[in-house]
């Protein structure tokens, strides 16, 4: 994403931000509330359209005008609110917008249920109530549904907005294990988090935002937690970080440049 800007009524929510992500990499986005993280990520997932700037995927320019476009580029998002239709069951939520159909064009509920059992069984073997409305499920189960939906269709880029905010310690650990597994499968992950410990555990690189701009980007091993906190609060860029986000990406392949 290059020079992305988006203003809401005179407030620059995102101001000339550039950020990149490589295959099999976890890029953490941190910053205060209102720093512009969520807005930036919503531009990538198609929920908001930028006023200026460009997105490219594997070197090719990409146009993302709506969530459908994002899905076409195999960009999936796990929203902080989970974005589930509470009145529908797990199977319907998993396939929402991408229902499998029979040869007559009707919903193929049985095949969808079978697929759903497979993917949910992998994520959370204790989770059996696939035909109950999502609103009766526990927080962890709901999170499983949102995650399962994001990885169901051969995802290339995964955006996780505060994935552990509503979870207990055990479930948080599960999400951590999942992030590592997805990473090893070559999926690039944007991780938005308030939890600096989570970020240091899971991320390869950290990008700090403040007031709609990037303060700096650093590999986790080049900065300390205190330095990152300094970036978040004071907006100061320490020597281990670079104000240019594309620098210092380590081993990832340049063909994956976004």
């Amino acid at each position: 994403m290059r020079d992305i800007s988006l203003a809401f009524g005179g407030i620059h929510a995102v101001d000339r931000v550039s950020i990149d992500l490589y295959e099999g990499e976890v890029m953490a986005l941190v910053g205060h509330n209102g720093a512009g993280k969520s807005t930036l990520i919503k531009i990538l997932s198609g929920a908001n359209q930028p006023d200026a700037g460009a997105i490219s995927i594997r070197g090719e320019p990409a146009t993302i005008d709506n969530p459908r476009d994002a899905r076409r580029y195999r960009i999936e998002t796990i929203y902080q609110t989970l974005a589930l239709a509470d009145n529908l069951d797990t199977v319907a939520n998993l396939f929402l917008g991408r229902e499998l159909r029979t040869k007559w064009g009707t919903l193929d509920d049985i095949t969808m249920e079978a697929e759903a059992r497979k993917v949910i069984g992998r994520l959370n073997p204790h989770f059996q109530r696939l035909k109950d409305p999502v609103k009766v499920l526990s927080g962890g189960e709901r999170q499983s549904v949102a995650i399962a939906r994001a990885i169901l269709f051969d995802t290339r880029i995964l955006i996780m907005d505060e994935p552990t905010a509503a979870l207990g310690p055990q479930e948080t650990a599960q999400v951590g294990a999942l992030v590592k597994q997805l990473k090893s499968e070559g999926i690039g992950i944007f991780l938005i988090s308030h939890d600096i410990h989570d970020v240091f555990d899971l991320a390869d690189r950290i990008c700090v935002m403040k007031n709609g701009r990037v303060v700096g980007t650093a590999r986790v091993e080049h900065v300390t937690k205190d330095e990152v906190l300094g970036m978040i609060i004071l907006g100061k860029c320490p020597p281990g970080a670079s104000p240019d986000s594309s620098a210092d990406h380590g081993a990832a392949r340049p063909s994956e440049l976004m």
Binding site: S45, A47, N66, P67, R68, A70, R71, T77, Y79, T81, L82, A83, L84, A85, D86, N87, L88, A92, L96, G97, R98, E99, R101, G105, T106, L107, I110, T111, E113, A114, D132, V136
Partner: protein, 436 residues
């Protein structure tokens, strides 16, 4: 409407009562079972109060015909309310489109094709249905794409279409209608007779058996949990008994003597001593309503469109983020609603044998009441087509019952209004207690 199971005092915590077990085994919707129970209760009470006049073939046949227009529109209203919208314009739209269909078949087409040409009824009906879909699309566009609240758009529609209905003929009633078109409204000629009614009943039973057998076989191939065979047989049995009993009732209602005499003269049949028994059978408007009910249920439960309608009701934002074109889905629900209002209009004017500019006045409120009594949540996201159709029969039962009892018209309105509020209150209580 409350079918709370009485808990067994000695039951271990977590053990299910017999009623809950029954519901679980048969996978029947508790809410729907409750609505059926309420309907039966109302019927029995009205039967007793009217001294045995209510549960007669004649009254039940008429009840079914009178319920049809409300039931037809209630199926569409379910989808509209499920998406958190409302349509207040359907009564006026019914009136306006009814007038247009009346003028087309009485003033326009006979001049072009000749009086009582066999194509008139189809062309008049088609004109109405297309117009209904267009008017619905117009309102749907304003709601979905211009972002005007549906309450306001359709409140405007209520005034606009009622005015338009008057303007078509400057308030004059259009009558009599085309003879073939009139069959859409029922009556002795507009019913399919005993033999065909039994045929319909038998085909319906066969379809129920095949449908459930197919479903079971599909679930078996994927090793999913099946319901117990006894429950399966019970559901099929109850459904078939109900269908055949309904056919038996409508077949027990004979043609009036005048119609029989005319029919006998036209076909040169001698009328025997005790009179000739010709059964009505299922009325055509009732068949239309049942057909609409099955079609809209199919749309709601087996297609993407229906899935999106419910998803929008549950969480509009999430549905949009999932890549669904929510505005187009909402516009389609209003198009369907307009189409169904036109169909209900055709049935209504055919039954009256006249198109009047006041046809369908307050119908929107009866339809909304039927939908809500049938278990559709005003907050959106939940509701069944079958429930709404049952709700239509409940509303019509109350109205017909009060007419039978000789209740004054103003008192009827008071009673219906009170029942609506009470039904929604019961529903709220139900949801609060049984929401898991």
């Amino acid at each position: 409407m409350n079918q709370a199971p009485t808990p067994d005092r000695h039951a271990k915590p977590g053990r299910l009562s017999a009623f809950t077990q029954f519901l679980k085994a048969t996978e029947l919707d508790a809410r729907l079972v409750g609505t059926v129970a309420a309907l039966l209760l109302i019927w029995v009470i009205l039967h007793l109060l009217s001294g045995g006049l209510f549960l007669t073939p004649r009254n039940l046949w008429n009840l079914a015909v009178q319920s049809s227009p409300i039931a037809i529109m209630a199926t569409g209203m379910v989808l509209v309310i499920v998406t958190r919208n409302i349509d207040l314009s359907i009564g006026s739209m019914l009136g306006f489109i009814g007038m247009i269909m009346g003028v087309v078949q009485v003033d326009v087409l006979p001049k072009l094709l000749g009086f009582e040409h066999p194509a008139i009824w189809v062309l008049a009906l088609a004109t109405g249905l297309v117009l209904g879909a267009i008017l619905g699309a117009l309102q749907g566009f304003a709601i979905a794409y211009l972002g005007i609240p549906s309450f306001i758009v359709t409140l405007g529609g209520l005034l606009v279409w009622r005015g338009a209905a008057w303007w078509v003929t400057s308030g004059q009633t259009v009558a009599p209608l085309d003879n073939r078109f009139r069959l859409l409204g029922g009556g002795p000629e507009g019913s399919i007779g005993a033999a065909w009614s039994w045929m319909v009943g038998i085909v319906a039973c066969a379809a129920i058996v095949l449908l459930l057998a197919h479903r079971r076989a599909r679930r078996k191939t994927f090793n999913f949990a099946l319901r117990p065979m006894a429950a399966e047989i019970f559901v099929v049995g109850v459904a078939c008994v109900f269908v055949l009993a309904a056919v038996a009732v409508v077949n027990a209602y004979p043609w009036p003597i005048g119609s029989v005499r005319r029919y006998a003269q036209a076909h040169q049949i001698a009328v025997p001593e005790g009179g000739l028994f010709i059964a009505h059978g299922i009325a055509i408007p009732v068949l239309i309503a049942i057909g609409v009910g099955i079609t809209v249920t199919f749309l709601a439960t087996r297609t993407r469109f229906g899935r999106y309608v419910y998803a929008i009701g549950g969480n509009p934002e999430a549905t949009q983020l999932a890549g669904v074109d929510t505005r187009w889905v909402i516009m389609k629900t209003f198009m369907l609603m307009g189409f169904l209002a036109a169909l209900a209009g055709a049935v209504s004017i055919a039954r009256l044998n006249a198109a009047t500019n006041s046809e369908g006045t307050l119908a929107e409120l009866l339809v909304i009441a039927a939908t809500v009594i049938g278990g559709t949540s005003i907050a959106g996201g939940a509701g069944t087509v079958a429930g709404a159709m049952l709700g239509a029969v409940i509303m019509q039962s109350l109205q017909s019952g009060m007419v039978l009892l000789g209740v004054d018209t103003p008192l009827q309105s008071i009673a219906i209004g009170a029942v609506l509020v009470a039904a929604v209150w019961l529903d709220t209580v139900y949801r609060r207690r049984f929401a898991r």
